[in-house]
Symmetry: D2
């Protein structure tokens, strides 16, 4: 069994690392704020002093940090992953980063002799805890094979999608579908309510047919209760829809429905709902 490093112990990263420890992996953890490592050390993890140190000691180092800047920072510099990774070891970045950042990290790691895989995830806190994330892996295929046992602990599926960039592309495809669905769902619900149907009737009928899906069930209940507790911030969805439309632009793929759903999310952003859940798009639609 490969030794595993884990960098970044936020809400997501901590849950994922805990699952790896419980599954019996030999895990070394590091976090910018070292206090957060205590709980994992208590569960049996080792403590790494720097990203470089972790990458030097472990066969495979995973990272899950909050934004592109942090992802780049832990990789570069004197104490960064690239400085420690050396020949043949592997680095798997599971953070959600833009294409440019992902390419920069890939270059830094491969130039240092390491192997690189991007592996952004679909899913939030609960699936991270339950080990049911969807892991979108792309990059070095031999590293993918080595990482698979760990992926299987953290997620319910982890397809290999090709060269670096394809993980991010898949995430855009998935999220733009999600945004478009939420937009048409909000319009349909608004229409039905104005026509005199009740929200429960609509959700029941939709939930019984070919369109039935967990998102409509979950977000639908939230809308009817005017509950917009954030599990996926609306501003992040709008950013992904914008990037998806831009990718369509680059690939000569017209996408009128996505473009209009993007404008609907912009309307919600302009109305001040950016930090609420994606379900808050309903507030500007209704």
């Amino acid at each position: 069994m490969k030794s595993i490093g884990f960098l970044g112990l936020g809400i997501m990263g901590k849950a994922m690392a805990v699952n790896l420890i419980k599954a019996g992996f030999n895990v070394t953890v590091w976090n910018r704020n070292p206090a957060k490592t205590d709980e994992l050390v208590a569960l049996g993890a080792a403590h790494g002093s720097t990203p470089k140190a972790v990458a030097e000691q472990c066969d495979l180092t995973f990272a899950m940090v909050s934004d592109p800047e942090a992802a780049l920072a832990i990789c570069q510099g004197k104490e960064g992953v690239a400085a420690g990774i050396g020949e043949g070891r592997g680095y798997i970045d599971m953070s959600t980063v833009d294409d440019t950042t992902s390419q920069a990290i890939a270059r830094a790691i491969t130039q240092a002799g390491g192997r690189f895989l991007e592996a952004p995830v679909s899913g939030t806190k609960k699936p991270a805890e339950d080990g049911t994330l969807i892991i979108l892996a792309a990059g070095d295929e031999s590293l993918y094979q080595d990482a698979l046992p760990a992926f299987e602990v953290m997620g319910k599926m982890s397809p290999y999608l090709g060269e670096v960039g394809q993980g991010a592309n898949m995430k855009l495809v998935v999220n733009m579908m999600m945004g478009g669905m939420l937009s048409i769902f909000s319009e349909g619900l608004s229409l039905g309510l104005k026509a005199g149907l009740t929200g429960d009737q609509i959700l029941d009928v939709v939930g019984a047919g070919a369109m039935a899906n967990p998102m409509f069930a979950g977000k639908g209940a939230m809308l009817l209760n005017e509950n917009y507790t954030t599990s996926f911030p609306l501003k992040h969805m709008q950013k992904d829809m914008r990037l998806a439309v831009a990718l369509g632009d680059k690939l000569d793929q017209p996408m009128p429905t996505a473009a209009i759903a993007n404008e609907a999310f912009k309307q919600a952003l302009k109305a001040g709902f950016g930090d609420e859940d994606i379900a808050a798009i309903y507030k500007t639609v209704k």
Copy 2:
């Protein structure tokens, strides 16, 4: 147990009547082309000579015909349902008709002393055979209660939605959501394929997440195989989306995503795909 009449033995109506007979109801059938009644008589049904005769003999008469003109024709005239229904008996029209036709039928029946329920269904041949239709009932509530045992044989759910017209409204709400979903799905699939992902990868990832739904699974497989065998004709979907947008117009409900998905279906119609399955929208999107 109420005696039941059933008018219209097309693909849908026959399957529904068979289920009623098998469930032990006392059923009298009528069809414009009487040859089609033989099979049901063999299963134990009685044969009615005219819609009027059926409505006179049965406590509850159901109809399932192919279009508004047929629905109106079997109701009106010397040999029509209204001529036979009399005081207190019930007529349940399960055909899909427009609002004007539904109101005209409701008037004819109630003026003749009968009770009326519109009950359009969501679902095609297979759910009709399996008794898993979604039945959208609206109109006379006492009649709804009387019809419920029969509904429970024919469908998996049959909510009571209020006054005449609400069954049709629910169907528009459901179908516009379906159309919008199919439009964003087609765009997302096209984008992913152009970005170099494979169709199977995309369907797998979508099928594992919060958006997973039977329609994406079913239509997705069709798209990847360029199979557009009609189960729901594209031209009917476009008609429903147009009516939904028109309903939004009437109710002051802006619906940009639905309006644009409607234009996408019009594009497919213009390209000559009106008689193919709704999935053929993909051919003009990709």
Copy 3:
């Protein structure tokens, strides 16, 4: 010179009739509220007691009333135009009516032996006074020739557009272009202002280029002054855009830009700006 009847002396009709009298035509006027005829009688017009009486006495009878109901009412009934028109005389309805009403009036007149022309106008009070309306004539071509001298007094152009219905179609085409232009103009102005340009700079640059047009100049100045004094009510524009999109539906012509501009006008309607000028769309865009 043909004798002329004129029915309907509202803001538009009065200005048009005054121009005909001043041009030397022999004019007989009628209005539902007869007090309004005094001013025209003072200018030299005769007073007609009913629409029927006017149609009996005059070679050509023009009408300009406020809505389809009024247009139908003055035509039908014992004292209506159809009762008086007789063989060979002509009726020209310049009111803006829907297609069904126009066809009903055409039938009533031609069945009574008269000739019929629909001639809705583009332009409001000022062009009516100045005799610079755009008159969209369609129907009986010999009547068009007879009416031309009067059209030339009332308008600056009056093309013959074909059979009854084409006048109304042209009006929809023109108004949907106008609505779309206003929508993109409002978005462009909003974008420029948010980017830090001034409204005057934007209007100046737009006004100097290939897009320069009287509407942008006029409405642009209104927007910058937050002045939405009604010259064309927003709710009427939204109605015309809806009808244009519906016509596109009927003719298999996808029109995504028009469909989305229609939704933008619906948004303004929903916000309560229906009775303000079409320029008020800017209030929901900005």
Copy 4:
């Protein structure tokens, strides 16, 4: 009178430089391919050996090159403008470049002690020859004052729009309006033709009303003749619409009409019409 340098003698630049020479300015010209300078030298211009040499000799140096790469190249490097400009002299880049390039050029010039103005133009070959361009100037205000006499020779208007970037922003605002107008115009024309009106009727009526503008007249005639001779390439318009939508994204300004018109231009691009005139959008709309 200030001495003037002019860099870049393509279709646009040559016409502009000729106008400056004819107006009596003392002009030094440079072009990457020096053969193109002969004609201007024959008219009285001096020949500069490099961009650096021109910038050293002239009070004001103008540039008009074809793309951002060329604009950056003539500015940077050992023989570039920045190497020669020195204290107090001015550089006016009239090329159309993106924001990042414009900022990079501004930095290079000001760090070298020079003054900088961006001044992209609206208008193509004919206005360049006629001296009727619209010049969108932004940057150093004292330089703007110095350049004004030359602007007045090259253009019919040249407002000062503020800091570097505002010239480019104005161009996006203007072009997105133009694109939206062309999209709704194409839809309206298509609708009218399908309804049985003729193209001439539609252009006449539109040309007589409040929407009348040179673009509809010019492009309208092109559409009816199926003539798509390029004066403004469709792919450049789509790029500008994309950038305008992206600017709206940055400034939280929803722009559904612009977003949909952008998708319509993408559809035309996908159909292979990118190098034809912007009027070719009609081919995918009709």
